[in-house]
Symmetry: C2
Subunit: 332 residues, 2 copies
């Protein structure tokens, strides 16, 4: 038993920023453990763009929304502090869906033990959703070939930064689109991208012409926004577009139109969307693809760590403003 604190979703967003009115803070004693259950004290919880979808009651979404009144959904890392489950002992570190709360009770389903000597930050930045998403999207959907040119929007984001590094490791020329000079500097000078575009200050068309004079073969889309049309019109024949996120449209009542499909015919393009819940069964395989790159030092990360449960609310808005520098997470 422990004193739990949790944020419950009580109001859905309807466009515009996320605010504290949408959540209720509840304190409670954790209940006594049943057979096979164990209690996890969460140490870091992850903030991800997918959460906007979870907060919205969109029947068309690929996973059900968080019900009003329920603890907000999130993944995290924690330590077992009490256990009635022989497979999870006190002191074990685990990762999985734990929600916006200090303590979570589990029977083990959907939680994975962390055996390797990696930090919470590395787990949430690389081995959890961002790294799996980047690996599935780039290697399985994007089918990159050495020598090709890849452009990734949200290039300094949690997924984009890994996509770019994986693509470099696969021998591609990599351009990242970012929203600040600081991020541009980071992806080029720290992560090894070939070039960066600051979509807020650069002349997009001229810059794209300069950086991709021979066109673009793989376009990994995390953001949407006006640059989408400029990139699309520069796709090479047989180009592949991996649609992973459209953060620019998540807070809009009406999404911006996409490009005409005329180029889809002329260039024989493939535009393909994916989401990780379809591929949870393939996680072992994805980790096998990703881990060697991490172990050989080819995948660097940067965590942007907020402090305390309440900071999660404001933290989500950083996805719209682009203020976050690296993978967003909350230290509990």
């Amino acid at each position: 038993m422990a004193k739990n604190v949790a944020l419950h979703l009580i109001k859905r967003p309807s466009g515009g920023p996320i605010n504290h009115d949408m959540f209720e803070r509840k304190e409670s004693e954790t209940p006594a453990l049943k057979d096979n259950e164990f209690l996890v004290k969460q140490t870091h919880m992850s903030l991800d763009p997918a959460m906007f979808g979870w907060m919205t009651d969109d029947r068309e979404s690929y996973i059900p929304p968080v019900e009003l009144g329920d603890v907000m959904r999130s993944s995290g890392v924690g330590e077992v502090v009490e256990s009635n489950n022989p497979n999870f002992k006190v002191g074990d570190r685990v990762m999985g869906m734990m929600g916006w709360q200090q303590y979570a009770i589990s029977n083990g389903q959907g939680l994975n033990k962390i055996e390797a000597p990696v930090s919470d930050e590395q787990v949430l930045s690389v081995f959890a959703l961002p790294g799996l998403t980047a690996t599935q999207g780039l290697l399985k959907v994007g089918q990159p070939k050495s020598g090709e040119t890849l452009i990734v929007t949200g290039g300094a984001g949690s997924v984009g930064s890994i996509v770019g590094q994986l693509a470099k490791a696969e021998g591609l020329r990599v351009i990242g689109v970012v929203g600040s000079d600081e991020k541009a500097d980071w992806i080029v000078n720290e992560l090894g991208f070939d070039a960066a575009i600051n979509y807020k200050t650069d002349a997009l068309e001229a810059k794209l012409d300069e950086l991709a004079p021979d066109g673009i073969d793989v376009y990994f889309e995390n953001t949407g926004g006006p640059i989408q049309h400029h990139i699309f019109s520069r796709m090479n024949a047989h180009g592949r577009i991996v649609v992973c996120g459209l953060i620019a449209d998540y807070s809009k009542a009406e999404p911006a139109p996409g490009p005409s499909w005329l180029n889809v015919i002329k260039k024989r393009l493939r535009i393909e969307g994916f989401t990780m819940p379809d591929h949870f069964g393939e996680i072992p395989e994805l980790l096998q693809l990703l881990t060697p790159y991490v172990m050989s030092g080819k995948i660097k990360h940067r965590a942007h760590v907020l402090d305390g449960l309440d900071s999660a609310v404001e933290g989500l808005n950083m996805f719209f403003t682009g203020e976050n520098k690296g993978k967003l997470m909350v230290k509990l």
Copy 2:
């Protein structure tokens, strides 16, 4: 030697209808045959939407445009009437690219002999570009599964009518979008489609809701136009969109925007374009897939035959107006 008549392209279209000013009619004597050459008297020539691309000087197009001054490009069927080539004898029937002219000289490259007892109309309607395009697009790109729902725009067109019949033969539920009640009647009562939508007169959203209450799995796009967005918003998870043609946009200076990619993520859609020139090497395999369906009577066709070389010019505009009833071709 024979008296040839040909239409040469002398002016490119710039949006709007095709007219006689764009062509020059030239009469000439066919030159003497060189070694290995033979002379074909064309009997029927095909009119295809791809011709708009060939007439336009679009450097991004997948095959080079017709040069100004050259005979307009087209495929056709004909009979060998003189030969210096041991493989093509006088009396042989051949199909291939022959151009807008009465007589064509060839060394055999790109021409195929027609050995089977099929009419010119059947060759151009089923075994040539339309049937190959439908087979490649539906079976290879669309990956249809029995029990799924398919919608095809241009459902009474040369490609669309074959797509729908192939899909029926594969066990799908098939809806065709057409531009007249006569065509709707034809595809449902003659070709066996499950239903038709007249995009000019039906209330599109209500009709789609009625005919596809469980959504759409495969969307074979031949036309574009406003119905595109309504179909797109009804795609099921893991749906496939085969982009084969956008005739509604070919005559516009600025193509209409496409749908937002938000649904591409939510529904994990694949949008893929293709054109036959990439797959000419696979024609034997495609014919192997197609022929059994034709031979068992599952692929019916309807030819819309215009009379005489000059009728080709006006004929092309029928693709915009939708006046043609069946595969357009010109009898010479």
